[in-house]
Amino acid sequence: MIDRDLPVTADELHAYVDGLLPPDRRAAVEAWLAVHPNDAAQVAEWRAQADTIRARYGVIANESVPVRFDLDRLAQPRRNWRSVAVATILAAIVGATAGWIAHGASASSQPGFEQLSAEALAAHKLYVTEVRHPIEVGAGEDHLLPWLSRRVGATLRAPNLEAYSLKLLGGRLLPGPNGAAALFMYETPAGERYTFYCSRANTPRTALRYNTAGDAAAVLWVESDMGYVVSGPAERDKLIEIAQSAYREIESRLPTRSTENRVPPRRGS
């Protein structure tokens, strides 16, 4: 009875039409509509719209599913290159924000993967402490990326991490687990250093994973036969955020900031 005295909101009218109204408000809304003909007309209009939409498109769900949607076929890698390409780009956007990372540790690890991580962290530790020669080629030099790309054998990108006050200093060439590897170094105004390591990888595609080694930590992933490792001080949340940003930029070829907040985390409850 008390509920009847609360005014009915526009949201409640929508919820009433959509069958999403809490049961205890139903009587109040119906009482309201009985004495507010304009609202009642609106509700009737919305219902009619919904019925027409369902009448128009509902039947599609009853069609038999075409063979092209057979999941066993679709699951075969590279079966449909174009679809895979589109999906991979979107995987970066959806995946990077999809909240998997906290669960990365539960995934089974492969030896190659651990080696990649170990090499990257070793290089990180060695060069971040280097005062005079942390890099070989400076960020301002045009040949930095072409040179490292050619040596590593893949088109490399150094992600823009200025949103985290990280300025790219430059990069260097290193021996990696599968041939040459590239190490890019970033620095904050306070002198904190992060590195971004790229190497060919022969392990399967993975989600991002977090590893620690003393006071340094790394987040790594493998995509399209390339392994990437973001290393920095062992502050888990911050490092993961930076790695996600790098991941989005590398894998999606899109600006990192504009794609944020578009996809909700989908963690188990």
Binding site: T52, V94, A207, V263, R266
Partner: protein, 163 residues
């Protein structure tokens, strides 16, 4: 593993329905669904529980958004020409009208309306799919409904005759 794939397979009819209504183009819709499925299968390791259906709607919605962003540089061919169907009557005309009315909506508004009305998602689920607060969902839903009404009112000869 099998459960995941079965769950995805069970959602295909609904995804096709949503994609068709979203794009109003059968071929494009099925391409979107296929891309969504490929993406979902490859990203199984990224799915950690929760509602599989909502997750798939999220992927599809984002794929579509991305497609539109890619198209934004080119003029799109939206069939909003009123002349040819204005004299049709009966259920055919009704479904054509609603198609055109949907075409006039902003994409996020259309997506909200379809997820609620056609796919039966709750407002909270739609908010998750779109990555926006519930208040935004409600205002998109409200604007979508108003605009469809305006469009249909403007089109209906019967209403004009009444005046």
């Amino acid at each position: 593993m099998g459960g995941f794939r079965q769950g995805v397979a069970a959602t295909v009819p609904a995804l096709r329905r949503y994609a068709r209504a979203l794009t109003r183009d059968a071929e494009l819709a099925d391409d979107l669904v296929q891309d969504t499925l490929v993406r979902a299968l490859r990203s199984e390791h990224l799915f950690h529980g929760g509602d599989l259906r909502s997750w798939l709607y999220t992927i599809l919605t984002n794929l579509n958004r991305n497609r539109l962003r890619a198209l934004a540089r080119r003029p799109t061919m939206a069939a909003i020409d009123d002349n040819d169907a204005a004299d049709l009557a009966g259920p055919e005309a009704g479904s054509r009208d609603i198609e055109r009315a949907l075409a006039t909506l902003a994409d996020d508004q259309r997506s909200v309306l379809l997820l609620v009305v056609l796919e039966g998602l709750s407002y909270r689920e739609v908010a998750e799919v779109q990555g926006v607060p519930i208040g935004t969902v409600m205002s998109r839903l409200s604007r979508a409904r108003m605009q469809i009404k305006d469009y249909l009112d403007g089109k209906r000869p019967a209403l004009r005759r009444v005046k």
